[in-house]
């Protein structure tokens, strides 16, 4: 046996974000890895001399190899995870006093070719389950990921959605990104969007990553972090 241990280094504006991104990439939870902070980063003065945080994650010995890539998932694994996922969400909703129908499906592959498990919740007036800036929905998704992950012994790529909220929101965000990018190009001024959670900021960054003439950045601290769309020419 060789001592090959999986490690991953990640750079992000803050230590927490770097860890989150790295865990997401590995498909593991934070108790399955050792975290080493290589550089805490610094905000610098007025954006001058700002340095990103750098962390290194090492998968703990007793853990199976990272199974973030869909490769490790056999169809039987997937079926099993799906039934645990819908069971978990049903149990949670039941104890929250919410009557709704829960179904589960395999989502479309993302840019990295990974297929998430999507748990759909349908019912009447479930806006209470979404909450302000999807805070409640994200909490439900986070708890579900932890419970299912513990059950199957690894990280799970799982999305919890209520009445198609995430899909609608994603479409809305893409449109917003395009509109604000046009605005930035037209005026030559940077456009700052409202604060968004990491997953939503990612949609904006991805939407504009190949657009000529603008680049995107995130500024501020969670949970008030926002995307700025910056035109290549003109004032910043």
């Amino acid at each position: 046996m060789t001592e090959s241990r999986a490690t991953l280094e990640m750079i992000a504006p803050t230590v927490d974000e770097a860890i989150d991104k790295a865990l997401e990439e590995l498909g593991l939870t934070d108790d399955e890895v050792e975290v080493e902070v290589l550089d805490e980063g610094s905000k610098g003065m007025l954006g001058i001399g700002a340095r990103q945080a750098r962390v290194r994650l090492t998968v703990k010995d007793s853990q199976p190899a990272p199974r973030s890539a869909a490769q490790a998932q056999t169809p039987a694994d997937m079926d099993n995870t799906m039934s645990i996922a819908s069971h978990t969400v049903t149990e949670l909703l039941d104890r929250m006093g919410i009557r709704a129908e829960v179904s589960c499906r395999v989502g479309a592959a993302d840019e990295e070719g990974q297929t998430p498990i999507i748990v759909d919740i349908q019912g009447n007036d479930l806006s209470i389950l979404i909450g302000k800036r999807a805070e409640t929905l994200n909490a439900l998704q986070y708890v579900t990921r932890l419970i299912v992950g513990k059950e199957v012994g690894g990280g799970v790529n799982l999305i919890v959605d209520v009445e198609g909220y995430r899909e609608r929101r994603e479409r809305g965000l893409r449109e917003l990104a395009q509109r604000m990018a046009q605005q930035a190009l037209k005026t030559g001024h940077s456009q700052t969007l409202e604060p968004m959670p990491p997953g939503e900021r990612r949609i904006i960054h991805l939407e504009l990553q190949n657009m000529e003439g603008v680049r995107t950045e995130s500024t501020g601290e969670e949970p008030k972090r926002k995307v700025v769309i910056i035109p290549d020419e003109g004032e910043q």
């Binding site: 927490d16 860890i19 409640t136 932890l146 513990k150």
Partner: protein
């Protein structure tokens, strides 16, 4: 409400036999106390308190359904 916290906590800890949840009403507020073994504290609190925050979010919905407010206190065994 107690059942929600009980379910989440027992699902996340290594030692579910040491999960104790109690609930006390105080007017429109329900105070919930969650006790887990010392070793499992990290699992129900999470890095930066993320798990605890998520439990409180979900608890808020459960309480609102009942026209109440809820507090969640997480304690180590004495």
């Amino acid at each position: 409400m107690k059942e929600l916290i009980e379910y989440i906590a027992t699902s996340l800890v290594d030692d579910p036999t040491q999960v104790f949840v109690s609930q006390r009403r105080q007017g429109a507020t329900v105070n919930i106390r969650l006790e887990v073994s010392k070793e499992d504290m990290g699992r129900v609190i999470g890095r930066g308190g993320k798990v605890a925050a998520a439990m409180r979010s979900l608890l808020r919905v459960a309480a609102a359904n009942d026209h109440k407010r809820a507090n969640l206190q997480i304690v180590e065994p004495e």
